[in-house]
């Protein structure tokens, strides 16, 4: 019985990581439209530094969702993302997104910073606090 509960718990944790809808979020005051996946890639892979309205973008990683987010964004495991950023960071080409410990911290940071852009699970989404910019199905 205990074994079955543990297995069910593991499956539920695993599937929530894999199948949960991840929403890219921005600040409510940042007057930008929803964006394409390519545009999200540009912000989180160091390709662009500004939104179309001229606001400086500040991408933020949520440590508890980072692995699943980059898998959906690039179809690559986190080791490859880290190697990519190691090349860009230490050769002086670009700076990786700053990191927050969890989605709760991310929501607070996005609420505070006009240029902040990050991601959370759909169940954390509250449109009175942050703006949805892109939804990974």
């Amino acid at each position: 019985m205990l074994k079955n509960i543990i297995i069910l718990l593991l499956i539920s944790v695993f599937s929530s990581q894999l199948h949960a809808e991840i929403i890219v979020i921005g600040n409510l005051e940042n007057n930008i439209p929803t964006m394409t996946k390519k545009k999200v890639q540009e912000f989180f892979m160091g390709r662009t530094r500004f939104f179309s309205n001229g606001v400086r973008a500040v991408p933020i990683d949520a440590s508890d969702l980072r692995k699943g987010f980059y898998q959906k964004l690039t179809h690559r495991p986190i080791e490859q993302i880290n190697a990519y950023w190691a090349r860009l960071t230490f050769s002086g080409h670009s700076t990786p997104p700053s990191k927050m410990p969890d989605q709760q911290a991310v929501i607070i940071a996005v609420k505070k910073g006009k240029g902040a852009i990050s991601y959370i699970n759909r169940d954390k989404m509250n449109e009175s606090q942050v703006k949805p910019l892109y939804i990974f199905e």
């Binding site: 390709r47 530094r49 400086r56 080791e79 190697a83 190691a86 230490f90 050769s91």
Partner: protein, 427 residues
């Protein structure tokens, strides 16, 4: 740059000069911080990278260097300094359009420890969203991997291809660069031009040569989804002389010329000062998440016999199996050097024979004729730590071991195996 050239008579003066240069850079940063400080600025971050590697060969006849700046060679016993290093980087976002960065690398490098291992201290100013200008000390990027060659975590091998990256290892320069970044639909184009002054110390094996002088160049990088292609050109004017004054004076002596007739005619060859070095390279990488391909070719035109003209190329193919990457790497480097006949001694006196041989070695033992085949693995055992192991088999032609520590006997082995393993990490 002219001002930088004026005071360089002693190592002490040069160090003072460089420290002043970097202080100036930081002063500018500080002023900018005060003037433009906003809520989230300045934002500091400290990051780092490192490698702990063990390397050994199967012979004591010749020593293996990762590149020509290293002072400690690897032979039959396990050597840790060849493939180990630790880098620390401090980044400061000063304002929306201003950044400062400093990188220091602890490693085995000839020359002044503090000055030579300070790989970058610069201020970057974004003139527009896609155009930036940097001022200060920057990592030199003559080739595809040059500006991250120390970051083992960023590539699959134990070290960048030996035939390509160990020859003229310009690590950094003090000056300015301008980069323009263009988005072309799904692809990206980066255009960069740079100019400044470089100073890189080579090891005692290379007569403590200081690669020093004005440097300038440009490169273009084209990136599409899985491809990154780069074409680059770098120019350096070598202003320092190779430290062979004693040998030069000895063979230029009329008395020596009378007992080794004609040897004085070779004196001009023992010089690198005022030679022009031109590097041209084309390289590409492909990475689709499963397959990983790197290939690059270069030609270096040098006008001096200590770094003869050389063509180099490599091809690496890797295949990822989850967190395990298996790879193979083939490299080749061939210099186009001409042998110079050193006249025979008139009297077989040991001192004269030694002088004749030293001259012969200095003039004729600078060629590169090397090929290697490597097999290796990278295992990403943690998101920030990778274990690597590599076996490389080198083929060396008679007068082609200039990238190695050669024996006094000048007899080099035809084949050398190099085994290495270690960990690369980021933090």
């Amino acid at each position: 740059m002219k001002a930088i050239n004026i005071i360089k008579n002693t190592r002490y003066d040069r160090r003072i000069k460089k420290i002043s240069f970097f202080c100036f850079t930081f002063l500018i940063s500080l002023i900018a911080t005060v003037v433009e400080a906003e809520d989230q600025y300045p934002a500091f971050s400290v990051k780092g990278f490192g490698s702990i590697g063990y390397t050994r060969t199967d012979t004591d006849q010749i020593g293996f260097y990762r590149n020509r700046t290293q002072t400690q060679e690897a032979k039959k016993s396990l050597e840790i300094s060849t493939d180990s290093r630790l880098g620390i980087q401090l980044d400061v976002d000063i304002s929306k359009s201003l950044q400062a960065s400093t990188q220091f690398i602890l490693r085995d490098h000839a020359g002044d420890f503090l000055e030579q291992n300070l790989d970058s201290v610069y201020l970057r100013w974004y003139l527009t969203e896609d155009t930036s200008i940097r001022f200060g000390r920057m990592g030199a990027d003559s080739f595809l991997l040059s500006d991250y060659r120390n970051v083992g975590y960023a590539y699959p091998w134990m070290r960048p291809p030996h035939e390509f990256y160990s020859n003229i290892p310009i690590t950094h320069y003090d000056g300015i660069d301008v980069t323009k970044f263009l988005s072309l639909g799904n692809d990206y184009l980066s255009l960069k031009a740079f100019a400044g002054y470089t100073s890189t110390n080579l090891s005692e094996e290379y007569a403590n040569l200081e690669l020093e002088g004005p440097i300038a160049g440009a490169n273009i990088v084209y990136e599409s989804e899985n491809w990154r292609t780069r074409v680059g050109y770098t120019y350096i004017r070598q202003v320092k002389e190779i430290q062979l004054q004693t040998l030069r004076a000895a063979i230029n002596d009329p008395l020596t010329n009378s007992v080794i007739p004609g040897i004085s005619d070779l004196t001009p060859l023992l010089s690198v000062k005022d030679s022009n070095l031109h590097f041209i390279s084309l390289g590409t990488t492909y990475d689709d998440g499963t397959w990983l391909v790197h290939t690059e070719a270069s030609y270096i035109d040098t006008q001096n016999i200590f770094n003869p003209d050389v063509a180099s190329a490599y091809l690496s193919i890797g295949r990822r199996f989850s967190t395990l990457t298996l790879y193979t790497l083939y490299g080749i480097s061939h210099s186009f050097h001409k042998k110079h006949k050193v006249p025979d001694v008139r009297f077989p006196v040991p001192a004269l024979i030694a002088l004749q041989q030293a001259t012969d070695s200095a003039i004729n033992d600078n060629g590169t004729d090397e090929q290697s085949l490597s097999l290796g693995l990278r295992w990403d055992l943690h998101p920030k730590v990778a274990f690597k192991a590599q076996w490389s088999h080198y083929w060396l032609a008679d007068d082609g071991a200039s990238l190695w520590q050669k024996p006094a006997s000048r007899k080099i082995p035809d084949n050398v195996n190099v085994i290495s393993f270690g960990f690369d990490f980021i933090f």
